[in-house]
Subunit: 207 residues, 2 copies
């Protein structure tokens, strides 16, 4: 299973919290349990791969409310829902919003642990892509406005002289900017620069 992963359990029923905690800990995870969505939001931080095991029905903020709230956060924690009384519309809402699984009590211990594993794996992947995108954005931020323009035009495949004409400067100037872009973006080749641009572009589009 690789690195230690955290699993957050949120359930208003103390006995359920206790049994879920015991079960998940037995599989080697670091478990933190919370009695309500608000407690979780106040206290939870992971800094490592994690996931959330969440009761749908709770007094105050429900599981679906919490899911909606977390959907706006930077780091989207994968959620495994667990519920005693659920209905189909609720299930559909949760799944459409990206829940990893939705289990009804009583469920097999195996099923829960499988879902948790999938959720943690998903989070591990997410953390990886997030880290990459952060480092990419950090590099893009170091570009000056002009460099950014040249960057954008260069990766479309335009020639330096065409870019120069478009920006009303001489070719030499474009070459200078271009070289700085390669340097600041830490691209070892033009092919790599194109890939960095596409990756950065996708992120911008998502945001």
């Amino acid at each position: 299973m690789g690195v230690a992963a955290s699993v957050f359990v949120v359930d208003d029923d103390p006995s359920v919290r206790k049994s879920l905690t015991r079960l998940i800990e037995s599989a080697g995870y670091i478990v933190e349990a919370f009695a309500s969505a608000r407690d979780f939001l106040k206290a939870a931080t992971a800094g490592r791969p994690c996931c959330l095991v969440l009761d749908v029905r709770m007094p105050g903020m429900t599981g679906l409310d919490l899911q909606r709230t977390l959907a706006q956060a930077v780091h989207r924690i994968p959620i495994v829902f667990v519920t005693g009384q659920g209905d189909i519309p609720m299930t559909v809402t949760a799944m459409k919003a990206g829940a990893v699984d939705f289990l009804t009590k009583p469920f097999a211990a195996r099923d829960l642990l499988d879902a948790v594993q999938r959720a943690v794996e998903k989070d591990t992947r997410n953390l990886g892509t997030e880290a990459r995108s952060r480092s990419l954005h950090a590099r893009v931020k170091t570009l000056t406005p002009r460099e950014r323009q040249v960057f954008a035009l260069v990766v479309t495949g335009m020639l330096n002289k065409q870019i120069a004409a478009q920006l009303n400067v001489v070719e030499k100037t474009v070459k200078v900017h271009r070289a700085r872009v390669m340097d600041k973006m830490r691209a070892g080749s033009f092919a790599e620069l194109v890939r960095l641009a596409d990756a950065a572009g996708v992120i911008v589009a998502q945001t």
Copy 2:
């Protein structure tokens, strides 16, 4: 809503078929109804954006069985499930397998039509990417084995001379292959070639 879209309705209950058909036709879709999954598999072809409105519980092949079967097909038709008696595990299975929505009867006409619209939009996007990937693969197929090798190495950002060394040929030979690759792949620039390679690579990885 753009182009005409087909909606396939599969339900074993004739009266439900009839009312679903009427409802969906009223929204401007071309509806074809089938009494069973097998009938649908035998007869249905669209050639235009489409989706599937599917009853979960049916004698013989169930809705979930049909979903599994279709998942292996080339063209993944988006599915909207509709059911009288469903349960949560069934819903979760359907949603995890990519269903667009899962409605329980009785449902609001508006909800069904919204789901159908989302499903058709999804299919339109899918058809677009499929068409692009087919044309891309067609172009890759015209490459000779050697050209493919050069293609693969070129888009990593390697220099011609490095590629030449790796393939034990002279640099000029690499240049010739490279030029042919640009030509056959119809890439107007090196940047475009890199993007084509990545797009083709993703498709290969998916397959």
